[in-house]
């Protein structure tokens, strides 16, 4: 499923890199422990997290995630956004929490 479709249906805010909305989302991963995300997430995942630190961009690049979704209104640090722009990693935001976000996205991808 395209990132754009998920973003539209869930009314997600695009915080940076809207040119990346055409990316294909192959799966999802929820995690705030970056060591865990590095070890267990997969390429193409939409990564759902509350961490806003710049290191999330490096992890998303390394794991080739389709995008990062910050839940519960998480505001990325300025450095996080600038790195994401530089690396072309889309960061999206939503007010809903990780449970709801994961549930809704899972539902969209597995109708």
């Amino acid at each position: 499923m395209k990132l754009e479709e998920i973003a539209g249906k869930l009314n997600l805010r695009v915080l940076c890199c809207d040119e990346g909305l055409s990316r294909e989302v192959r799966g999802g991963f929820v995690g705030d422990l970056l060591s865990d995300v590095m070890a267990n997430s997969r390429e193409g995942d939409l990564w759902i997290t509350r961490q806003v630190h710049p290191n999330i961009v490096a992890v998303a690049v390394m794991k080739e995630h389709s995008a990062i979704l910050l839940v519960q209104g998480g505001i990325p640090m300025e450095d996080t956004l600038s790195r994401a722009r530089k690396e072309g990693v889309p960061i999206l935001g939503t007010e809903i929490n990780g449970f709801e976000a994961a549930g809704k996205i899972y539902g969209l991808m597995n109708p």
Binding site: L33, S35, D36, V37, V52, H53, P54, A58
Partner: protein
Amino acid sequence: MILKDFRCDLHVHTCLSPCSDLDIYPKALVERSIAEGLDVIAVCDHNSSENVSYVMRAAAGKPLVVFPGMEIATSEEVHVLALFDSVEGLLDVQRAVYDALPGENDEDVFGCQPVVNELDEVEFMNPHLLIGATTIPLGEMVERIGGAGGLAIAAHIDRESFSVFGQLGFIPEGIRFDALEVSARTPISDCRRNFAGISGYALIRSSDAHRLGDLGSAYTTIRMKEPSLSELKAALKGEKGRKVVDAFP
């Protein structure tokens, strides 16, 4: 100039930490530390330093040097040890931590947080949610500690939770700790092998004691002229013969 080897446990808690035993109050902490052969301890309760001065008073005239410190939880939930050579230096950091620490403690859930003086009397119960995390990001916190004249040490880097590697995957660019702490459970050689980007760092071991019985379970032997913060800093940098000699276990 004569350098000596000091047995240092730079991360111990008192009963003020909600997850600590009540019997690790200032006088008991000092007595047991001396009995375990420690020369230096750093008192690092979670997000609070309010028992530090009482531990220092309990150690006055005794063969134990006490560094004022705190184990601070950053907004990423990374635990950082802040060590100072005086309580005054720590105050600026303490104020910032309290200002950025939301919530109130619930004793029934998290445990009580007594501030206990050197005479074993409870002064008051600390009301802050010390088990929680501040809203201050790691980079800002490390800078603040250094700016106030303290040392910033990444706590228990080998633990999955509350460590810089666990929370953030790796040490973020632009952040320079004064040392990295490894818990007693992981051999130092494994750490050197398993964690990237730590070759330039001094690795220390501490007990992270939350009960009296933990004291002596881990420590670091450090060569210095005297147990002061500036000497400790030089040792962590390996300057002028000062150095981390050995870590136990």
